[in-house]
């Protein structure tokens, strides 16, 4: 309980005659004195998840913006939250991921060695500008989607909302860094067409948050994570390599949240798996359309080839290898999330030469 002293000498009215309420001082019905101890790195969200403050209810009893653990008046207004079950948004690693995100922020202005950009052959400059155009376009979906759903999440799941805030900041930085690169070396933003928008629209229009997070974190960001990892081969120079490495770290955090959120949701409500599968059926088709879109696909092939002359011989082969890695990682994450897709996916596994043995934690 919040304090036991009665403080008998406090006034009942203010100097201008207004009645005063000292309930917060005279014993709020909340836990007092938990006194979490900082760990070696400071006072983390894990450290303060103690006593009643660390208990996240399966179904919160109210729908206000009151902080979890406070003494909440019964007449606090209902904020109209739609996601009121812990399984709707929670992931067991969400507190750690929030702390990680805060600790690993970086600056697209300061941490990329922009001064080291060198003039590129025209075909490579065009290709990296096209890739950056496409990436700037798709990155912001990972900010818009959490923003669309966050105000619908019950405030008792504050840690999940806080993590999603970091994701939104990350995606703003990704849009920033790719936009800056497109403009920084004498090029500019290039083509944006209808095709890629179909995946983005599928994600943003998902009927439930868990469907949306499957499409965004597991599918979309999973593929982008592997693309960023391949930045070592895609990037024409050290500036772009650094850009991809830094963005890769952020993207991997988002994928870690999505994978573990879906796992949590499916473990607590196996029926959710069906709705996730249905969403991914549609999403995979849209993703394939994005991956084979004329602008993104050809720009990637040219960058992987190191120039226009080697596109056919080298570029498309390397692109096929990239796609194989992306699909293998995606299917492995689906297994980990509790929604195995190997026997259901419409992605061309035969064409890519992917079998059960290629998946992490699944093979013989």
């Amino acid at each position: 309980m919040g304090g036991t002293e009665s403080y008998p000498n406090l006034p009942d009215t203010s100097p201008v005659g207004q009645p005063l309420d000292w309930a917060w001082l005279r014993g709020a019905r909340s836990e007092w004195g938990v006194q979490p101890k900082p760990s070696a790195r400071g006072l983390t969200m894990m450290d303060i998840a103690v006593g009643s403050y660390g208990e996240v209810p399966e179904r919160p009893g109210h729908r206000s913006m009151a902080p979890r653990g406070a003494d909440v008046d019964p007449d606090t207004p209902d904020m109209g939250y739609l996601l009121n079950a812990k399984t709707d948004v929670w992931a067991l690693n969400v507190r750690e991921l929030y702390e990680e995100a805060v600790a690993r922020q970086w600056s697209a202005t300061r941490d990329i060695p922009w001064g080291e950009l060198e003039e590129l052959p025209s075909d490579l400059e065009h290709a990296i500008c096209q890739l950056c155009t496409s990436l700037t376009e798709v990155e912001m979906i990972a900010a818009d989607l959490p923003a669309k759903w966050m105000w619908r999440m019950n405030h008792d799941f504050i840690e999940a909302k806080m993590f999603l805030c970091t994701q939104i900041m990350d995606e703003a930085r990704h849009a920033e860094v790719f936009r800056k690169r497109a403009l920084a070396n004498g090029g500019g933003l290039l083509k944006s067409r209808a095709g890629p928008a179909s995946l983005l629209r599928t994600i943003i229009e998902a009927k439930t948050y868990t469907q949306a997070t499957a499409l965004l974190h597991l599918l979309g960001e999973g593929f982008i994570l592997d693309l960023f990892r391949q930045g070592e081969l895609i990037a024409p120079g050290p500036v772009e390599k650094k850009m991809f490495r830094m963005a890769m770290q952020d993207e991997a955090r988002h994928v870690a949240y999505g994978t573990m959120h879906i796992r949590y949701a499916v473990e607590h409500d196996p029926d959710v798996a069906d709705e996730i599968h249905e969403a991914l059926d549609v999403g995979e088709a849209a993703l394939f359309e994005l991956g084979t879109s004329p602008d993104l696909g050809t720009a990637l092939a040219l960058l992987l080839a190191g120039g226009s002359e080697q596109v056919e011989e080298q570029g498309f082969a390397m692109q096929g290898d990239l796609l194989r890695k992306q699909v293998t990682s995606y299917l492995s994450r689906c297994e980990r999330a509790g929604v195995p897709r190997l026997d259901r996916t419409t992605l061309p596994l035969d064409l890519l030469g992917i079998t059960r043995d290629d998946l992490v934690g699944v093979g013989a």
Binding site: A40, E100, A103, Q105, E232, A256, S329, V360
Partner: protein
């Protein structure tokens, strides 16, 4: 590269220069290292990172690398080439970065039993690179 002393040297570098890691952020994982020697034997170790510190380096038995979140596995000459590049340039360059080396999987492979553990390699990649870049320090080179 294939000794606990060498890895402990890297750990000492990390712990002596927290400022280099503070800007990269906390890094929480257990990384396995498998160095295949020409004689067919392998050196195995587990490295424990927490926050901006390396807490522990220990030699591991065959198969114990699977207790790590993920592990890096490759022949001694591939590891040595990476260290040589770091020593020459002060940090890994070009195709000698951890991310590059593991990307093609031809020399050093990134492995794990859990995709979440493997993804930690991506999440903490720049901290891990900084750790191995510590091989440029004279004190570490003397051991390696």
């Amino acid at each position: 590269m294939d000794s606990v002393a060498f890895l402990e040297g890297l750990a000492a570098q990390m712990n002596a220069h927290p400022d280099r890691y503070e800007v990269l952020g906390d890094c929480d994982l257990v990384l396995g290292v498998v160095v295949q020697r020409p004689d067919g034997q392998a050196f195995r170790a587990r490295i424990t990172f927490e926050g901006i510190a390396c807490l522990d380096v220990c030699e591991a038995e065959a198969g114990d690398e699977a207790l790590a979140d993920c592990w890096l596995e490759g022949p001694l000459d591939a590891w040595s080439a990476m260290v040589d590049d770091i020593v020459e340039h002060g940090r890994a360059t070009g195709r000698h970065t951890l991310n590059s080396l593991t990307l093609m999987g031809e020399s050093i492979r990134l492995r794990g039993q859990d995709v979440m553990g493997i993804d930690k390699f991506s999440r903490f990649n720049q901290s891990l690179q900084e750790f191995f870049d510590g091989a440029a320090a004279r004190s570490v080179r003397a051991v390696g």
